[in-house]
Symmetry: C2
Subunit: 506 residues, 2 copies
């Protein structure tokens, strides 16, 4: 007795809902681990997570899901499904294929190689000795190449890896965009160098008591529209956002008692991620569409709030009086313009995670170019330190004193994350294009922001991005929200305009 399409769809939805529930349970364990867990809890937590992820994998790769998908993909069945149900079939097909295409032996080899990779990377960075990490990285790259060929791709093996984080993105599509961004950024940096103005950062570098920073961050989060009844903020070594459904979204930050910017911008950044997660419609929460369209789209939300709003002059026009109430002796004499300059100082630096808005993308482009060549077998792992240092000189004009602050600075490659870095810059590109559209749609935007009316931005994002979850691919979503495909000119123009004001020509 064959099930009707609607019965099949219901069964698929039920199976997906359970997988979502278990994924959220694993997320609770992950959050606890980073924020609350006592140190000795790590060992059993790893076992609990391994078992839970094993159950999730087992359920996702259940052959019954494959049967349901095949049947629901038949053209005459598709035409009877709602748009949402078709989207569910599409995203679960993608997840199912990615989960089933890799042979179990490859999954195990990758798990082992990356566990060792993270370990040896940590040692290698501590001692600044590349050779400690290189053999493990060689093995990882080899396995990632095999992963790419198992997953399949049309043009470039890198596309198979990129697709995990940015569905539908390809090297041939984003390569030229990043290249334009690269050339324009190098030119902008040269102009900044020649400016006689150097913003002063000392207003940020004073003692700021953590309790006050916390109160200020919470005030900003509330103003952004973060719902504290449906989320919370805690402290962790590395700030992050995690969601257990749209009504329980947790963010973390970290505090530097002598630098106001550290916690504030981590809070706004994670707050941007969190608003996306809180904006997922309840109806999507357990159907497989209740996630971001991609890492790049997720990052566009955090960057938009952090940089386009949080590092703007109107933001400080609103925020400074509130900050003065909490830290009178530190900022009583500051103006919104002082704060605006201080939080936007540009500096050629070695470390990606400390980079400013202008140079940040150069750090990403460097990594993207290396990854692409590595996966294509055009360069060898042994070439990486030399190529890294050459590119740092080309792109940022600085010499790398040792590998610890060079090729060994990031954990991503040791963890097997290839194709992940570009999503950071895609986030910036998406954010700029969304921001330009918001500006067009809301003519008095700066005035509103200076009054603390962030709701106008949140409503726009809810309407154009959040409510769709991952119903559309990133490129569909951007096309719909902005009326055109991804176009790097928005970010280039934004950066040029903003930094010409901060670093005027001589």
């Amino acid at each position: 007795m064959r099930l009707t399409p609607q019965e099949q769809m219901n069964e698929l939805r039920e199976r997906v809902a359970e997988i979502v529930d278990l994924g959220q349970a694993a997320a609770v364990l992950g959050w606890d681990q980073e924020t609350m867990m006592p140190p000795k809890g790590a060992e059993y937590r790893a076992t609990q997570q391994a078992t839970l992820h094993g159950v999730i994998h087992e359920r996702l790769t259940n052959a019954r899901i494959g049967e349901l998908l095949s049947s629901l993909e038949e053209p005459d069945v598709q035409s009877t499904l709602s748009e949402v149900d078709r989207a569910i079939v599409r995203v679960i097909r993608r997840d199912y294929d990615r989960a089933t295409k890799l042979p179990e032996s490859l999954v195990k080899d990758l798990a082992m190689a990356t566990t060792r990779g993270v370990e040896s990377w940590r040692r290698a960075r501590r001692e600044s000795r590349w050779e400690i990490f290189a053999p493990d990285l060689k093995r990882i790259v080899e396995l990632k190449r095999r992963e790419a060929s198992c997953i399949g791709y049309k043009e470039h093996p890198y596309d198979a890896l990129l697709d995990e984080f940015e569905p539908g993105a390809t090297a041939s599509q984003i390569g030229p965009l990043l290249n334009q961004l690269r050339n324009e950024t190098v030119a902008l940096l040269a102009r900044i160098d020649q400016s006689p103005r150097r913003p002063d950062r000392t207003v940020l570098e004073q003692p700021y008591a953590i309790a006050g920073q916390k109160a200020f961050g919470e005030l900003i989060l509330r103003q952004m529209g973060f719902d504290f009844e449906a989320g919370r903020e805690d402290t962790s070594a590395h700030p992050f956002t995690t969601s257990f459904g749209p009504t329980d979204v947790r963010i973390t930050t970290r505090y530097d008692e002598n630098d106001l910017a550290t916690a504030l911008y981590a809070t706004i950044h994670e707050g941007g991620h969190a608003l996306y997660d809180q904006g997922i419609p309840p109806g999507f929460a357990r159907n497989g569409l209740g996630e971001s369209a991609s890492l790049g789209i997720h990052e566009s939300q955090s960057r938009l709030w952090e940089n386009f709003i949080g590092r703007s002059l109107p933001f400080w026009q609103f925020a400074l009086p509130r900050l003065i109430e909490i830290f009178p002796s530190q900022v009583d004499n500051a103006s919104p313009e002082t704060m605006f300059g201080a939080v936007n100082r540009v500096a050629r630096s070695l470390i990606r995670v400390e980079a400013d808005e202008v140079t940040y993308n150069l750090h990403i482009i460097l990594r993207f170019e290396l990854e692409l060549a590595l996966i294509a077998n055009e360069i060898d792992v042994d070439d990486l330190p030399r190529l890294w240092n050459e590119k740092m000189r080309d792109l940022l004009g600085i010499d790398v004193p040792n590998d610890a602050v060079g090729v060994l600075q990031d954990t991503h490659w040791g963890s097997g994350l290839f194709g992940y870095f570009p999503t950071y810059s895609l986030g910036n590109l998406y954010a700029a294009q969304l921001w330009a559209t918001i500006r067009r749609d809301v003519p008095d935007l700066d005035h509103r922001l200076s009054q603390g009316d962030f709701q106008v931005v949140l409503s726009w994002l809810r309407q154009k991005i959040h409510r769709f979850g991952r119903m559309y691919t990133p490129s569909e979503l951007i096309q719909q929200a902005t009326g055109e495909p991804l176009n790097p000119q928005y970010l280039i123009r934004y950066l040029n305009d903003k930094y010409r004001a901060i670093y005027p020509p001589a």
Copy 2:
């Protein structure tokens, strides 16, 4: 190709380890829910828990476990197994049977009836109207009777329910013990009434800042031997202890700014539970033996620390100087004897959870007698309010003004928990017998405690109780640890001695 016994045992162990992991994951979600979760998170958390518990049930009731157990129970196989492996087979057989013996329809009916029962009980208590709760309770009692007949029993249907919380215990075994305790306690209470002395509690009823209470509680926990690297203490509406493995044990307490005893004794009580959980050997953590022998044995640990140590004179000889450092103005003039008297005031009262050490067991005995008759069909749900009030007059000599503070005060029955209450008094009985044995083994015990040497007690408990997890039944464990079966005279003697000192005869 049949597996060897050792291979079967390994497979059973692997399956059990996964079930344990998933149970711990569910415990993390439960802890988070009570301590950290934002209010709106409740709905999805309920779904996550339901799914996770569904997976656990599915794995525990997998027919393969039944096959492995049957095969491992064969006499010629048993003789090849280690003592630990035999214990694993025994406890997993028990869990498997309890999980598989109930038809799915009964499990669902019970889940629905108790969900409704908790709801209507809450309303009934708020409005003090028994008739709101009675119909749901009737249904629950009927289903619990059916549960008892599905589980099976030798003598009394109540035994099948009791066994869930206190493996091996029966009404015919604990009934006479509780009856002795009842008669002796009633007599003791009469003597206390006639004493001219009335300990003064006012030293506890002063403003105590929460930060100071927290510091004091932490000091006491450390002194008890609680490992903060393998656990933490937080705040929740109702204090509890939960464990995600012996290296991650979480306790909670609650604070009353105007009563020192509330948080302190909750902390010591939960600390006693936590020391048990932290004392489970790592080798037991995932093999199914890494739990308490029973609720009663678990309660013996919390009561031993809370009452036998925490409410003793030697405890206050140690603790008072530390308390004076934190709260000088509140306790500068107090003596250890003042504190000892204050925390041991006896009062005939309506509410079980507020009862003192002497009257507490009478509250339990009342419930035990009613439950027993109810499950045996000797009384009807409609009789409960009247019988409750009669027994309160008989046992405690007080009149119940309304059902909200009488028969409706506890959540247990609405949740379907029959057979649970006696474990509280069993905990007191076990604790007294263990304490008498510790006293015999450590002649200078009081002196050591007055010096803050609680390690001597912890070591003893680790050696005699904690390290066995649930390898033995409660009665085996007590026999081994104390050299005789459970004997209520230890608690009776302890209470008589202690309270004769506090309430001397005229």
